[in-house]
Subunit: 411 residues, 2 copies
């Protein structure tokens, strides 16, 4: 008897057969008495096909018109699912973002939701209809079609759940939940029953790409319970929710995230004067290169070393920029390394437990893994290591923080 | 310095290359100083692809949801053309039917336009923008997406031209105008400079499928000058307009239309009582079979013969219905023939010229072509003949009514 928003992604609606399966699933929930709002992505591949079409006209497609084109992808899937539901005797009606009225700003291709008009949806729900909404899109004040940017369907789901004060927002994906780490690296990785929004944010941004970061932020802000589930397998998935009273059993660390898409750059022998960080990172940011970790050591002989990481795709561009900067500010040299990996331990539990970082370093030292960079936040410790040690590091940390499945079951 | 509505069909926007060509064409008109509203169909094949997708879900797709799905076809092309125009330095903006606000009734998949809000379009035109509108679609009072049914983009073009009081509505197609008859049958067939709405209606409904009948009716009703042109060839096309003062040079007959999609059915020895026509045609119509020509001869020995034509696809269904009727009303027998063709001469000129029909019959008699049925209207005479004589009949009539290209040029 709950009000549930369910979001299905592109692969879940990638074929007519899959749409029929989604309809079967929705029907079951409906028969259990729940009120349902379904948010859909475009059929997988369709958004890319449409973007490709637009790029044939122009390398830099006009954002307003690109949104007109790309938003048709979800419009097709909502119509198909509404049909499939009605065929099953489940009354259903589809709405585009514009029809619901998901009001956004006018930043085409990356619009932000300002307000959702819930009137139509509430009327339909009251009348016993399942409401099927196109994800990823909205409309601005002037009536122009907007899109929220890639993966924005998750955000649509959460925003609708917040507007409707839904009991839960369920995100159906191709994984059955959030894991302590990537099961392809650690066989003993286990599904988490529960994780906090903050932890999920750290996990997501660190490469466990289950949910869109924006959607998690949104859910946290409006306190919408978010559940990650598998589209076609049964199971409770992982509930992402606020940090309730820290229970006894709560593990210190929720998971181990990692990322091998980064490269690191160091500028050595930088004269240690105020404003030097800006002189180094300003040109990088002006070149539209995003920087992840930044480490600067205390000065030594009036010079310092400054190290940061960027996406590997941006490595050579960043190197060129940095070499110019080095000449200008009179730094000694620029060195870089693309064969690195970042490993992070994430968990709200570490707030109240001292020594978590040292336990991490100890565990890596035991395996003779050299730490190249360290950065910490309240609920996360990240280290950069040589890429070849990545799997070994993740496995040893997974064991060290007692995340391995058999061990915990045996406790 | 005119306001022109230009409509391009599915083959004219069937590929990105073609859309670029359309943009080139539109740019030329814009540079000549015209205000332009462009109406587009979906890329050819796209509407069928979308319908096919819907039919995979349901044999009888829910009309409301089918409209949601199918209307995406035009939404893609308008975005692409608007991009292509802007790329050429021609400011342009796209609108869906719903964005313009083309208000229709709620008859999904075959909606009728009720009203067009011209405010946005006028503002854009004033600002020097080309307005690109999705054909074939609208929105009902409740905000539901509707479609006008197949070929409805012509109707959108005419309706916009009427609402904006445009100087001309140009329909771009894959033919360079309306011909005196099918050039594949008569090599001497010629393009008409001008034709009246009434003539065009008779030509269209008789099988010269250049324009949607509804669009022509609409244009006639609101007196919107309509021009049929080739999308990618230069030329003045054919202007469809009201019947101005009948000029001296106006030919008696404008064209020869024909149709080989029909079959005829005769019920013989029908007791000649009042209401018999309804007894015969009522059940046919109840079976959703459309009847074209109907001929009943004067009674003879208190019985009569009753003949009508239907589409060949409906022939066997109609035969079954008719045989039941024959038993019920005590008619002698039912006979039919699918190997027939209908040939019609069309022209407003025949109103003021006696003997047009007899000239037609004479011409057919000369070729020993037997006439099986005759039906006449004010500006049209149709005969049904054996299908094998079709080409011969059309050619001889084309010559008899002085429509052949070389002969007329020599006059």
């Amino acid at each position: 008897m709950a009000l549930i928003v369910q979001k299905f992604g592109g692969t879940s609606v990638g074929t007519v057969e899959r749409i029929e399966q989604v309809a079967d699933k929705v029907k079951k929930f409906r028969e259990a008495g729940h009120d349902l709002v379904i948010v859909l992505s475009a059929m997988s591949g369709e958004t890319n096909r449409l973007i490709e079409l637009a790029k044939q006209i122009s390398d830099q497609p006009l954002p307003r018109e690109l949104d007109v084109i790309v938003s048709t992808g979800e419009q097709v899937t909502i119509g198909l699912l509404a049909m499939a539901l009605n065929k099953r005797g489940v009354p259903a009606v589809s709405y585009t973002g514009s029809q619901v009225r998901i009001l956004t700003d006018s930043s085409h291709t990356k619009a932000r939701i300002l307000k959702i008009d819930d009137q139509k949806i509430r009327t339909d729900l009251k009348a016993g209809r399942v409401v099927v909404v196109a994800g990823f899109q909205g409309v601005d004040e002037q009536g122009n079609i907007t899109t929220l940017g890639r993966g924005g369907s998750d955000t649509t789901g959460v925003a609708l759940a917040a507007a409707l004060k839904a009991d839960e927002c369920q995100i159906y994906t191709d994984v059955d939940g959030v894991y302590t780490t990537d099961p392809r690296v650690v066989a003993q990785a286990q599904r988490l029953e529960k994780i906090t929004f903050e932890e999920m944010l750290e996990m997501a941004s660190l490469g466990s790409k289950v949910l869109q970061i924006r959607a998690v932020e949104f859910a946290g802000k409006y306190n919408v319970p978010l559940r990650v589930l598998h589209s076609f397998k049964e199971g409770p998935g992982t509930l992402i929710t606020i940090d309730e009273e820290e229970s006894m059993e709560q593990p210190i660390i929720s998971g181990i995230a990692f990322n091998r898409d980064e490269a690191k750059l160091t500028i050595r022998g930088v004269p240690d004067t105020p404003g030097v960080a800006f002189k180094i990172l300003g040109p990088i940011s002006a070149a539209n290169i995003e920087v992840d970790m930044i480490v600067q050591n205390v000065a030594h002989d009036n010079t310092t070393d400054f190290t940061f990481t960027v996406h590997r795709n941006d490595y050579s561009a960043a190197q060129t920029v940095l070499e110019n900067t080095a000449r200008e500010i009179g730094a000694r040299e620029v060195v870089g390394d693309t064969k690195i990996a970042k490993v992070s331990i994430v968990g709200v539990g570490m707030r109240s437990h001292a020594g978590v970082a040292s336990r991490m370093f100890e565990s890596l030292a035991k395996e003779n893994i050299n730490i190249l960079m360290i950065s910490t936040s309240e609920i996360k410790v990240s280290v950069v290591i040589e890429e070849k040690y990545l799997e070994l590091a993740v496995r040893s940390l997974h064991t060290a923080f007692e995340l391995d499945a058999p061990a915990r079951q045996g406790e």
